[in-house]
Every structure is written in C-alpha cells, then in structure tokens.
C-alpha cells in the first residue's frame, strides 16, 4: 500500500474522493468562465482534496483544485489508470487522505522550486531551459513494476531498446513518467498564464487571443517570398498622370437596360452588348458597299484580341516572366497561321507531286521546278555526286565537308592572311582561362547558362521524359514507341 502512495502521488486522476460538487463550472464549456461570475467553486474542504502541482504558482491556496475535476475525470481516468505502469484503480478514502496530506506538503515544496520558462507565444511554445534532474528523471524498472499489482495490463507497443551497446549501465532505465507529468503541468500552467496576458477580443466561438506576429523560434518558409509584382505600362502611366486605376471599384455585375436585369460586365451574355450580328447590315456613310461587313467585324474582333494578348505578353516580358521577343514571335506565328488558314492551308499554292518539305520557300513556275529537280538529284545514296550530269545542266555544287581541317600554311613572304595557328591557340587559351568572354555573356543573357544552385536550375528527371520510355536504341526507338500499359497489351 505504501508503494501505491508513492506512485499515484501527483497525478490528478487518482484523486477520487467521494465528495462531488455539482455546481462546479467546467471551464472548457462556456464563455462565462472568463468572466468571474459566481465563485461557487472556491469552497472549503480544501485539506482533504488532493492538489495539483502546477497550479501553485498562481495561487497560494492549495487543495480546492481537485474538486473541479472529479466529476469528469473520474469517468475518464479510471480505466486509463490501468495503462500506467504503476496504476491501481479503486482506492479507498482513507488512503486518499493520507496521500493528500503528503501531497499538500510536497506541493508547498514544489512551489518554491518552480522553474520559470521562456515563451514563444505565436507557436504556443514554452522552453524550460533548466537542466533535467537526472535522479528523478530515471527510475529503475525493477523498483517500480515488481512492487505494484497490475490488475489489467493493456498491451503496450513496446519496442525494446535495440542498441545494447548504448545502454550498458542503463539497461533497465526507464523514464519516470510522473516526473515528466509534473514538469509538464508546471510548464503548461506558466504557458497558459502567459497566453492569458495577451490582448483578447470577443467572437462567436469565445474570447479570441491576439497572438504576437513574430516567431521567436525560427521557422523557415515553404517557398521563397514572391517577387514584387511589376507595374504594367498602363499602371505606370496612370500613376504618373494621377489617373485612378479603379481596380477594386468596378462591380462584376452591371444593370442591363435592354433586358432590365443585372448582367455580368464582361464575357458571355454581357450587359449592354452591342449586337451587330443581324442578317442584313446597313451600309454606312463611308463603308464600301462591296465589303463583307461580317468579315470586317470578325477581323476587328480578332485585331482587338490580338492587341490585348500582345499587350499582356509585353507586360510579362517587361516583368521578366517571359523571355524577350516572345510576344513578337507569338504574334508572327499567329498571323501566319491565320493567313494560311484563310488561304486554305500551307500546301495550297504548290502543284501536286512536289516533295512536301519544299513548302518553305513557296516558289512557283520554273523556280519551283528547278528546286524540285535539285531535291530529287540530291536524294541518291551518294547525294548526287557521281550521277551523270545531263546536257545543259548547270554545274553541281557540293558542300565542302566541314570535318576536314584546313591548315593555314604560313606563306613564305611572312604575311599571314587571317588568323595564324598561334593566334588561334592564344584565343583558345583565353577562353580556357577567362571563361569565354563575349560568347558566355551572350549565352548568359539568353538564359542558356545555369544561374546558380537553386531549384530552378535543377534538372530533375521526374520520369516524364519520353526518352526514358524508349525501348529501342537509335532512330528505331523514336517512332511508335508507346509505353506498354495493361490496356495496350490487351
């Protein structure tokens, strides 16, 4: 019985005296708890009721704490007691009173040796930087467990200490859970006390505490901070001239006069839309009567959207999101494709039978025939070198192989035309020593060189590269080489 007392000392759940206060207000339930209404909780019979360690730093009175928790924890804790190694359930009142006497005495002692913690309230953290008391931290397994009677011992997912070398002397050393609990309660009380000093505001869910905006314990971000948004051309102009931007003022819906409803300002079925799509269109004053008005409308719309797209891309270029010249390239390709679509396709101009890769130049007539001839002449095994030339055919020119090295012989007169070998060697040396100079600068400006060791230069192969799926080597693998999924196998 004596050992029981020792173990089940400072845990609150052991306290189970039969006196229960029905009128105790459970703190966690209502808002009222924040506002001292009826202090019915503060009552006598303090000495009999066991006391909680951690509370003592706040108040000098001991002993009334236990009454509050009795109702709730009695139900909660008794079965759970079994799980604690030293626990027993169903203690009699007399034992309790003995215990409490001990507790009140010891609690007094605890109050004096309370260790102040430092706080990081934004993260709801308290740091107790006082060293842990080793003697009270550890306890010998033999000492505690064998002595107590365990009625129900629930299976503990005990993973035994694997590295025996490290536990030479401490083979049976287990942490004293009660000591930890005691320390925890102390620290927790201090933390709660600190939190309650913060400014509060009322809300539907209860009083809200305003946490400080800074972290004391450094916590890194997930992604680097976003770059500040660059000003668009219009924003810059408006700022200079003092024109209001109206970014937040425009409402999404506008009153439509025609239908007497609220319609969206932009987009499909927008408000106050000028409907020009009648089957019969009147010819205006300056309009050409032979012009297609619907085509004209479509062209105008296309022009407007293209302008908008262009301006957006140019703004992005200025901000650095897109590379320089991207807007122009996109515009060029779009106009070309539109024109080609209008004219009926890319190969529309050429006669039938001409090899398709000649559509680039779009020659006509004799020039086209000659180009076709040249192409066919080249398409032999020897690239047209050894074929018999036909009468009247111009001399065939063959490209000089770049693979053959040209040796610049130094002339006897001492005059070297162009770069001599010495100079070329010197240039190579410069490149090696000083890293390329002009060319590297150009490449860097174009963005071809890696900028640094950041994630953005990280060429991570996430397996989405088609090349990885190639089963065949060489050119044969490039063709129809799809991943053989279950579906395809069937």
């Amino acid at each position: 019985m004596g050992s029981k007392k020792k173990k089940s000392s400072k845990k609150k759940q052991h306290s189970a005296p039969k006196e229960e206060k029905e009128d105790q207000v459970d703190y966690g339930a209502t808002v009222d708890a924040f506002f001292p209404g009826d202090d019915s909780s503060a009552h006598a019979e303090e000495e009999d009721v066991p006391v909680e360690k951690g509370d003592d730093d706040d108040n000098d009175k001991q002993g009334d704490e236990g009454t509050d928790e009795i109702e709730d924890d009695k139900k909660n804790d008794e079965p759970s007691d079994d799980d604690e190694e030293e626990e027993d359930d169903d203690e009699s009142l007399e034992e309790e009173e003995e215990k409490t006497a001990n507790q009140t005495a010891s609690s007094l002692v605890m109050m004096d040796s309370e260790e102040p913690c430092s706080f990081d309230l934004r993260n709801l953290t308290a740091v107790n930087s006082h060293p842990l008391h080793h003697e009270s931290l550890y306890k010998n397994k033999n000492d505690s467990e064998s002595a107590s009677k365990k009625k129900k011992k629930k299976k503990q997912q005990e993973i035994p200490a694997e590295d025996e070398k490290l536990t030479i002397n401490n083979a049976a050393q287990v942490l004293n859970e009660e000591y930890l609990l005691q320390k925890a309660t102390e620290g927790c009380t201090q933390l709660i006390h600190a939190l309650w000093q913060l400014p509060t505001e009322r809300s539907d869910a209860g009083p809200m505490v305003h946490l400080p905006t800074y972290d004391k314990i450094p916590i890194p971000r997930v992604l680097p901070p976003p770059p500040p948004k660059a000003e668009t051309k219009w924003e810059k102009f408006a700022k200079e001239r003092g024109i209001p931007l109206n970014k937040e003022k425009r409402s999404r819906k506008v009153w439509d006069e025609a239908t007497d409803t609220w319609k969206f300002r932009h987009g499909y079925d927008k408000a106050n839309a000028k409907d020009n799509n009648w089957p019969i269109m009147e010819v205006g004053g300056t309009d050409d009567p032979y012009e297609d008005p619907w085509q004209k409308q479509r062209d105008a719309k296309f022009a407007r959207t293209e302008d908008n797209r262009q301006n957006q891309m140019k703004n992005q270029e200025r901000a650095g999101v897109l590379p320089k010249g991207a807007a122009r390239k996109v515009l060029k390709s779009r106009t070309e494709s539109r024109k080609a679509g209008r004219e009926g396709g890319g190969n529309a101009g050429l006669p039938v039978g001409v090899p398709v890769d000649m559509t680039e130049n779009k020659l006509r007539g004799q020039a086209s025939t000659l180009a076709a001839l040249k192409a066919t002449q080249k398409s032999t095994a020897s690239m047209g070198r050894f074929d018999k030339p036909v009468e009247g055919e111009p001399e065939r020119k063959f490209p000089v192989s770049k693979k053959k090295r040209k040796y610049m012989a130094e002339s006897s007169t001492g005059k070297t035309s162009g770069k001599g070998e010495q100079e070329r060697a010197a240039k190579v040396l410069q490149t090696v020593l000083h890293g390329g100079g002009v060319e590297t600068e150009k490449a860097r400006k174009k963005g071809k060189l890696a900028k640094g060791v950041t994630a953005y230069d990280y060429e991570y192969d996430d397996g989405s590269n088609k090349a990885l799926f190639q089963k065949k080597k060489g050119r044969g693998g490039i063709g129809k080489n799809k991943k053989m999924t279950k579906k395809r196998i069937k």
């Binding site: 966690g28 079965p79 993973i159 925890a184 997930v222």
Partner: protein, 352 residues
C-alpha cells in the same frame, strides 16, 4: 499535384510558343500553389521505406492522427535512401507532387531498426533531415478508449524540457524542426478554449564510454489538457489538468543533415510586405481617443500677418501719419540748421 520545376518550365515554354493556356480550374490550383506572402499550415507526407515493420506503420498512423488534416499517408513502400542524393530527389519529388513541405519516412532493417526519417523542404528542395530510431512507442490506442482525444486540427501547446536544447546550433535546429512539424496552422488569433493538448519534448544525452560518443534521445510525451477555472478566483487564468493520452515516442537521434547557412538564410527570408507597417504620429489617450501629432515648420510670429480689423487699420494709419510728421519735422529742422550755418559762413541767406 504541383508541377516540378521542369514541368513548370515546359508549360511556360508551351504558352510562349502560342499553345493554349490551361483550364481555369487548373490555373486556379496552380495559382494556389505559388508562393504567397503569408503562408498557411505545412502539410506532411508520411511514407514507408523499403521495409516497414508493423509497429512503425502504427507510428505513421498515429502521426497522421496528430497532424490531421494536414497529413497524407502514402500506402506504397518506396525504395528511398534518404541520405542519398537520389533518395533526396525522390523525396523532393514526392513532397512537390503532394503539395507538402514536411515528410516522415518509416523503415526497418537490421542496421537501423525502427527508423524514422523526419525532414522539411524549402523551395522544393530538402532543407533539414533528421534520422531517428524509435526506442519506445506508446500509441493513442494503448492508452485505451476512455482517455479523451484531441480534436482534429487543434493546435498543440509545446514544452521543451532540459538545457541540452540550447546547447548548440544542431539542437536548436532540432527544436525549431519539432515546433515546425507539430505546430499546425500559424494563426494570428486563437480561441484559447480550443487548446486541448500539450506536447512535451525532453532531450537527454547519454555518453557511451566505449566509443566515446554521445547519443541524444528525444522523449516526446503528449497529454490531453483540460482547462479548469481557477478555484480561488484570484485570476481569470484557468488551470490546466493533464492526462497522458499518447502518442509517446522515445527517439534516439541517429543521423542528421541540416541546411547550410545560405540555404537557411534564404528560407528564413520574409517578404517585405509581411512586415507590419508602423503607424506613426498616432497615439491613444486614456479616454480612448486617437491623438495625432503634426510637425510644423518654424514660424516667425513677428513677421507674420495677422487678422486685420478696422481699429487696427486706423491705428496703423495714425502711426504712419505720425511717423511722416516726425520725419518732416526733422527734415525742417535740418534745413534750418543748414540755413543758419550758411548764413554764418557766408553772411547772407541761402535763397534757392
């Protein structure tokens, strides 16, 4: 499913070359995954290594229960060696694709039994990693059904015991890591009644006399907390009552890989916009009124023109007349003097 950097670049190139922009829903998702000025809760991806014991699987399940809803438990086993460059690439990939910044990988083999690798990422790159061996684990289940459980999504109160936490940079990093791992959503305002659990971390160090190395062990205990009214009513501050509820972990620190100083500094850099702007020249007096402060240039009162009234104007006029008269008189007297002198000198008067 955030795009990896390669994918993001390819997508951008496609847009530039005139391709179609992604659908609105996809674009909204992509915008949500971009970097923000103020960041929210960090998500954790919980995965298993090459071989994972049943107990370690249970550890992951408990972690998921603690970190819900910001945790994702992956089912498959992964051939990842965390301290290998390839393994790190795989981890970076998994965290990117699952939109998570933290990860915990459990595995078990003969050399490292009950292994748990905890880590966090920055900018889709591994920042810190700690490999830990679990020597003791008591799950929430083991505490039984009657012990109250914390609510999903509630923030923990954390407590660090021991002086070893402040010993050196590594332990401080470890402390920051644990806070980061468990803290949940970083909020400005908190309904204090919602606090329902405390996590206590103690760090102990054991010297191995044979190899002369020290082994640090983190003891993590979780307690369910109930706030009770302070019985003497002296303060509104409630009093906490703790019940051990689990999970309890005793972790032996094996290896660690903390970020270099440069990467750490880059990760800690806060955007300028996040700083609260100081409101200057405003103060509140005891009545709750806002008092402002104006800064003026120095004013020379003597040279300033005040308000004019009839009487003042008249007075000015009179003064001016008097002055004039005085001046005239002086002039006259002077003239007279000159005349007298002339007479004296020359004998006759000056008549011009």
């Amino acid at each position: 499913m955030a795009p990896t950097n390669q994918q993001a670049r390819a997508a951008k190139a496609k847009v530039v070359s005139g391709g179609k922009a992604p659908k609105a829903r996809v674009q909204r998702y992509l915008n949500s995954q971009e970097s923000k000025i103020k960041e929210g809760a960090k998500s954790t991806v919980l995965l298993k290594g090459t071989k994972c014991s049943h107990a370690m699987g249970h550890v992951l399940k408990d972690l998921r229960a603690m970190l819900a809803p910001n945790a994702k438990l992956l089912a498959k086993k992964n051939q990842i060696f965390a301290f290998d460059s390839e393994g790190q690439m795989s981890l970076e990939f998994l965290t990117t694709k699952n939109d998570c910044a933290l990860f915990a990988m459990a595995s078990h083999n003969k050399k490292r039994p009950n292994n748990l690798v905890l880590g966090r990422t920055f900018d889709r790159q591994v920042l810190d990693m700690i490999e830990v061996g679990v020597t003791r684990f008591k799950s929430m289940e083991d505490y039984g059904g009657k012990v109250p459980k914390k609510r999903i999504g509630s923030k923990p109160l954390m407590l660090f015991l021991g002086d070893i936490w402040e010993q050196n940079d590594n332990t401080r990093r470890l402390q920051s890591f644990l806070v980061d791992f468990y803290r949940g959503d970083p909020v400005e305002k908190l309904v204090a009644q919602g606090l329902d659990h405390v996590m206590v971390f103690s760090l102990t160090e054991k010297m191995n006399p044979v190899t002369n190395t020290s082994v640090k062990t983190i003891h993590q205990r979780t307690y369910f907390m109930k706030l009770k009214k302070n019985p003497d009513g002296s303060s509104n501050t409630p009093v906490p009552f703790l019940t051990p509820c689990g999970p309890d972990l005793d972790m032996m620190v094996r290896r660690d890989q903390f970020a270099s100083i440069d990467l750490w500094r880059a990760a800690m850099k806060q955007p300028a916009a996040a700083k609260k702007k100081k409101v200057k020249n405003q103060s509140t007096n005891m009545f709750g009124e806002t008092i402002g402060r104006l800064h003026m240039n120095k004013q020379d009162i003597d040279k300033m023109q005040g308000r004019k009234s009839k009487a003042l104007r008249r007075a000015e006029k009179m003064e001016a007349e008097e002055e004039k008269a005085a001046v005239e008189r002086e002039l006259e007297s002077e003239q007279k003097q000159i005349g007298n002198e002339f007479k004296r000198d020359f004998g006759f008067e000056n008549d011009n």
